[in-house]
Each structure stands twice: as structure tokens, then as C-alpha cells.
């Protein structure tokens, strides 16, 4: 059954205003409560914010394809700011080979060779922050932990040279802003786009990459003919775009959750094997990637209405992950919860291909912290970093009380 378009509730909200980005939760609740599909006149968009519809839209690549862009811009009518991603901004059949190659390289069994090293790296990072620093250590959880750890392990795993890695975070920040409207956040990044894009492109070349990393494995797939030589650098680019900021803000989310929920920290210390669950619960609770768009292929029925052909639909992953229609007490960060099925990594064909990397980074860092830190508390209120796609912190002041040896 479908209803006429007039029946679609309309909400005059701006998901990309600074006020909303500072605290998107009230707007997300209003969107969920307004209906299964909501029209946003400000951007001429359809939006879904309930778990059921967000998940249905995510998996339906046939009717909600990605090749017209997964941001607000419709690539059928506008030129993208960079050559489209072969993964994120592609549909079958073009999506098949890049996805198959990267899924194997970043799959759980392929990551086993990194596990011991990353756990040791996390121990080392935490020791460096605590050893000889007294009974209480105050630090910024973002720079000292959430950024430091991924930047320590991930570029090495890709096989990047040491120089220039400081470009990774600003490039990712801009790429995730660029999925939104062309607002001040996009303008802020614009002056450096050329420089950052050129640096990223230069890092994707075979001769720049080490011979034992994810990057080399992508090029090896091109030698085997599983992808073309022209595809290889763009697939490396996907790693550099989507693999850093996302995990940084996932780690920020879990550190914030643990610091503000002493019971959760106690649970993790008693049962460090729950680190992986804790990380996913934080991805559900904060949803570092808040939103993605799709484009309707023909008139698409969803949630009792129809999205008109070629219209953008905005999927609120973060709102779905806090939908009380699906989750019990969704605003609570709860280590006793089973967060399975959250859509923080997306769902379906385009689900985050790096999710196992993110979980491994999360498990390594949390395990090291749980072993060495007795108490973790906020040292001051955190400050948000505004991004059109990501829910992020600029600073996360923490007070760590090391465990007695």
C-alpha cells in the first residue's frame, strides 16, 4: 500500500546547522517521531531516521543505488569534487571486484597477522602515557589516544611512508564534510583540497607503498587481474579516506562512554574480553558516521510512501541506532547490551569494509587501557568537532588513575 506524497510529514530542520551538529539528538528524535519517511523542504530531501527504514534503505542497493553519490550532491546532475570512489560511490557490477578484493585484504583472517603487533603497540602507547607520570594523569583523550593509536598502527599497515601523515586527518575531515551541503564546513576545507588531494593521490602509487601492507596487497590483486591497474590507486585512496577519521571518532566515542559510565569501566576491567563489544556499543551509541545518502532508482516505495525517482534520501544511521522502536533504553551506553545489528557501519553490500580493522584497533587500545588504568573520568567537559557527516570530538579531557602495579 502506498499513500500520496501529501501524506509525507514535513519537517523544517537543518541537519547540518552548527546547532544540530553540536547536539543532533533532539532533531533525530523529532524525525523518528514525525514518521517513517520525512520530507525536508530545506534541501528537497526525503529522510529516514527509524531503524527499520534506515536498514531497509541501506541494504536495497537495487532501488537505492550509490553511484549518484552518497552525499547530498547528485552526480547525475553535478560534478563530484573528486573522481568517485570505486567502493562507496559505485554500484554492482562495477562495485563487485574492488569490494571483493578489499574484503579479503581487510577480513578477520587476514588481520590475524596484525593482532599481536597492534596489541603490543597499544600497550606501548599506554605505557608511554602513564609510566613515571604520577598517581593521576590528565590528558586529551582525542590527541593522546583516539588519534594517536590509529595514526600509529593504520598508516603502517597500509604501508605509507612516514612523511606527510599529518595530511590524513584533514583530508578525511574534508571528505566527510563534502557529503553534506555546500556550507561553511565545506568552505573551510576548500583552500587545502588541492594540496591534500594531491598528497593522497601520490600515496596511492605502487612505488610509494611498502611491499607488505594493505596497499601492496591491493596492487598484487591488480597483478592477478582481479582488479585493473587503473582501479588499484583509487582503492588505496578509499583506505586513506575512510580508514582514519572514522576509527579516531569511534575510539573517541568509546573513551567518552567509558569515562562517563564508571559501571561500564568496571565491567570492562573485570572482563576485558568485552572490549570488542564495548567498541561496537560506542559505535551504536555515538554513531561516528551519522548519515549517508542514496538516490532513488525510479519511484521507490518505503515506509508507506514513495520516494520520487532521482530524489535523494538521507539515512540517519545515528538516529536508527537510538530508535526506541528497536533498542531498549537506547540513549544509555551499556556494556551489558548486545549492540549486534546496529547500523553504525552501515548494512548490506556497502557495509564498512574496514569494520574488522576498526574493531581490532578498538579491542587493542581498550585492552591495554583496562589493564593499566584503574579509573577513567572526565577532567572537563568535552568539546565537539563539527562535521557534516561525523559525530566527533575536538577535545576529550580525561583523568586517568593508573592501577597499582
Amino acid at each position: 500500500m502506498t499513500t500520496t506524497l501529501d501524506a509525507v510529514p514535513t519537517l523544517d530542520v537543518d541537519p547540518f546547522s552548527h546547532e544540530t551538529l553540536e547536539d543532533p539528538l533532539p532533531m533525530q528524535a523529532a524525525l523518528r517521531d514525525a514518521g517513517p519517511v520525512v520530507y525536508l523542504p530545506r534541501y528537497d530531501l526525503y529522510a529516514v531516521a527509524r531503524y527499520e527504514e534506515v536498514r531497509a534503505a541501506l541494504v536495497d542497493w537495487q532501488r537505492f543505488p550509490s553511484s549518484a553519490g552518497v552525499g547530498m550532491s547528485n552526480f547525475k546532475h553535478e560534478t563530484p569534487w573528486r573522481p568517485p570512489s570505486l567502493l562507496l560511490e559505485a554500484d554492482p557490477p562495477h562495485h563487485d571486484a574492488p569490494r571483493a578484493v578489499l574484503s579479503a585484504i581487510l577480513g578477520p583472517r587476514a588481520l590475524r597477522r596484525l593482532t599481536d603487533r597492534w596489541f603490543a603497540d597499544a600497550e606501548d602507547l599506554v605505557a608511554g602515557l602513564l609510566d613515571g607520570r604520577g598517581d593521576v594523569v590528565e590528558l586529551d583523550g582525542m590527541t593522546a589516544l583516539a588519534e594517536a593509536f590509529p595514526l600509529r598502527v593504520f598508516p603502517d599497515a597500509v604501508g605509507l611512508p612516514a612523511e606527510g601523515r599529518e595530511h590524513l586527518l584533514p583530508y578525511g575531515d574534508h571528505a566527510f564534510n563534502a557529503f553534506g551541503p555546500s556550507n561553511d564546513l565545506v568552505a573551510k576545507g576548500a583552500p587545502r583540497v588541492g594540496e591534500l588531494s594531491a598528497w593522497v593521490a601520490s600515496q596511492c602509487a605502487r612505488e610509494v607503498l611498502s611491499d607488505d601492507g594493505f596497499g601492496a596487497a591491493i596492487w598484487a590483486a591488480s597483478d592477478r587481474g582481479d582488479i585493473t591497474p587503473a582501479q588499484a590507486p583509487l582503492i588505496v585512496r578509499s583506505l586513506l579516506t575512510a580508514g582514519v577519521d572514522t576509527t579516531v571518532h569511534g575510539l573517541g566515542a568509546v573513551l567518552h562512554g567509558l569515562a562517563t559510565h564508571p559501571d561500564a569501566w568496571a565491567t570492562l576491567r573485570a572482563r576485558p574480553e568485552r572490549a570488542r563489544v564495548a567498541f561496537d556499543e560506542a559505535v551504536r551509541w555515538q554513531s561516528p558516521v551519522q548519515t549517508f545518502f542514496r538516490t532513488a532508482e525510479g519511484e521507490v516505495p518505503i515506509g508507506g510512501t514513495v520516494v520520487p525517482a532521482d530524489h535523494k534520501i538521507l539515512m540517519f544511521l545515528g538516529a536508527a541506532n537510538r530508535d526506541p522502536r528497536h533498542w531498549h533504553d537506547p540513549d544509555r551506553f551499556d556494556l551489558d547490551r548486545d549492540p549486534s545489528g546496529h547500523v553504525g557501519y552501515g548494512m548490506g553490500l556497502h557495509q564498512c569494509v574496514g569494520q574488522h580493522v576498526a574493531r581490532l584497533e578498538g579491542a587493542a587500545l581498550l585492552t591495554a587501557l583496562a589493564r593499566r588504568v584503574e579509573r577513567i573520568e572526565p577532567a572537563a567537559a568535552p568539546t565537539r568537532h563539527h562535521n557534516n557527516t561525523m559525530r566527533a570530538f575536538a577535545a576529550l579531557p580525561l583523568r586517568l588513575t593508573p592501577a597499582r602495579a
Binding site: P92, A97, I227, T228, R274, V277, D338, Q351, Q355
Partner: protein, 311 residues
């Protein structure tokens, strides 16, 4: 256990029936790409692999085609003689060891029922505007399934029944292959040997083959309940056919993180400490399945009376 219901059964050539399969509740099926196969478990307990040969843009049905084996044993006779519309079959996968790699030019060679994985490949090659040709051999015209569907491609498709034209002219067919041409071949072993000979002068990765295997696979799969033991807590729970291992483990108090719950994302990978897993996922390669040291409890089950997991 995941089961599919037979929605349609059609004779598509002498000795070949096509089955249209769907979820009993009509829900979405796992995504697949050309070259993928599913494992179907038939009433006899035998598991057989069948290439998907339908339309991947239809998320709600799978199509497979089944050749009646000459020796008449096992799964194929059951499918032909007994399986009826409305019946259900167990299913695992899909998995893909025969993926269509990107190229601007393809040569496809099919022998008999080996046409099935190539059917969605030619559709896709056509869709992306690649240059392609198909050479399709069979014993006789009447035994060659889907020749009618292929007719719309005109002279890109050469149907070559052996009783009319003899063996496939492979050397001539691949003679024009340039350095960007990828050759795909599926059929019986002698055809694969012949195509390897005909392309021996070319880089190996430009030939992709899949052998049509008639044999039943692996241990007989069971529908009977088995005992799941969770090593960390020592808890045990009986898993009947209505319950996934993942759900059973959760009911017994285990925390098992999962995501897609259809055997594709890999989140719920769990070490197996004892017992023989009945793999139903889309992830593991054959040698990884054979190792039997891990499983994806969202879809996979047990071949043995007892399965011990590191949960």
C-alpha cells in the same frame, strides 16, 4: 536453519530443470555476483553446489538449473523426480570462486550445464558495454539450456551442439584474444583441459575456469538437534532446526557480537574447539572450511552431535 522454498520448477532442456527459490517469508536473499553458487541441502541430506543463473537485480529470488546425472544417484534425481513447488531445501552461501573480473573484453566458453554461471556473466558484460563472445557447446541442441535466452545477443553467441558440429573450435575462438581479453570457461573436465591447452601461451590469470562437479559434498548435513557447548562458561544448550547457533549461544548466556546475520560480514567469527562445523557462510574458501577451526554461528551449524565453541 535457513531454508528456501521452491517457487517454480521448469524444464529448460532435456534433462535440465530450472528452480526458482525464495525465502518462505518473501524476504531479501543475500546479495550475489555472477559466478556465485549456493549450497543446497536436499531431503536426502546431500549438499550440492549450484551456480546462480538468475537476475541479481531481483533481490527476492534465486534461480539455479539442475542437470540429471547419468548415474541417477544422489541429488539430481531427487530434484528431477521428487522435489516439487512448495517444497523447501536447506541453503548456504552464496559463495563465489569464479568472480567476473573487470575487463573490456571477454571470451566465454560453456560446456553443457556449465552455461549456468556464465549466463549472468554475459548479461553483465553486456551491461557494462564490454566486448564479448560466447561459445556454447553441448551434446545436442535439445540438451542445451537457456539457448533461447541467449538468442537476443545475436552473433555474439555461438551455439555449437556436438552432434551437429563436433568438438568446440576452441583454438579458433581464442585466436583473436588480445592482451586485455579474459577467458572464462565452465564445463566438464575435458573441456577445461582443452581450454587450458588452447590458452597455454597466454598469462595464466587471463583464464578463469570452474569445473562442473557432480559429486555430493562433505559430510551429510543434519536436521536433528545437536548439543552446543560454550567452553568459557561450560554451558550447554540443545540446538534444534528452528534455532541458529548464534541465537542458541545467546540464550545460554554468551555474548556473541554479530552484524549482518546472513553469513557475509564476518563479525561473528568464532573458534571451534571440538566438533565438525556445517559451514553455511559466504566467506570461507574451501580450504578454510575444511580446516574446521572456526565458523560463523549466524548461519553455520554442526555436522556432529556435539559442537564446542570458544564462547
Amino acid at each position: 536453519m535457513d531454508r528456501l522454498v521452491v517457487q517454480g520448477k521448469t524444464q529448460v532442456a532435456e534433462g535440465v530443470v530450472a528452480l526458482v527459490l525464495a525465502r518462505p517469508d518473501g524476504g531479501r536473499l543475500p546479495d550475489w555476483a555472477p559466478g556465485a553458487h549456493v549450497d543446497l541441502t536436499l531431503a536426502s541430506g546431500a549438499t550440492r553446489q549450484y551456480s546462480l543463473c538468475g537476475d541479481r537485480w531481483d533481490a527476492h529470488t534465486y534461480r539455479v538449473a539442475v542437470l540429471r546425472e547419468p548415474d541417477g544417484r544422489g541429488g539430481s534425481a531427487y530434484v528431477h523426480d521428487e522435489l516439487a513447488v512448495g517444497d523447501t531445501v536447506g541453503f548456504g552461501g552464496p559463495r563465489n570462486h569464479f568472480a567476473l573480473v573487470p575487463s573490456t573484453r571477454y571470451l566465454f566458453v560453456a560446456g553443457g550445464i556449465g552455461i549456468t554461471p556464465l549466463l549472468p556473466m554475459v548479461h553483465q558484460a553486456d551491461l557494462v558495454g564490454a566486448d564479448w563472445a560466447l561459445l556454447y557447446g553441448g551434446r545436442s541442441r535439445g540438451t542445451m539450456a537457456f539457448a533461447d535466452e541467449l538468442a537476443r545477443h545475436g552473433d555474439r553467441v555461438t551455439v555449437h551442439p556436438q552432434d551437429e558440429g563436433g568438438l568446440l573450435p576452441l583454438a579458433a575462438f581464442v585466436a583473436g584474444a588480445d592482451e586485455g581479453t579474459v577467458v572464462y570457461c565452465c564445463g566438464p573436465a575435458p573441456l577445461l583441459a582443452a581450454i587450458e591447452d588452447a590458452t597455454a601461451h597466454r598469462p595464466r590469470h587471463l583464464l578463469r575456469t570452474e569445473r562442473f562437479v557432480a559429486a555430493d559434498l562433505g559430510a551429510p548435513v543434519r536436521d536433528e538437534p545437536f548439543v552446543l557447548e560454550l567452553a568459557r562458561s561450560g554451558a550447554t544448550v540443545t540446538v534444534g532446526p528452528e534455532l541458529s547457533v548464534l541465537e542458541a549461544a545467546r540464550r545460554a548466556g554468551a555474548t556473541a557480537l554479530s552484524s549482518c546475520e546472513q553469513g557475509t560480514c564476518g563479525t561473528c567469527e568464532t573458534p571451534v574447539l571440538a566438533g565438525v562445523p556445517d559451514h553455511r557462510d559466504s566467506i570461507l574458501a574451501d580450504h578454510e572450511r575444511a580446516a574446521g577451526d572456526c565458523l560463523f554461528p549466524c548461519v553455520s551449524r554442526s555436522c556432529t552431535d556435539r559442537l564446542v565453541l570458544d564462547l
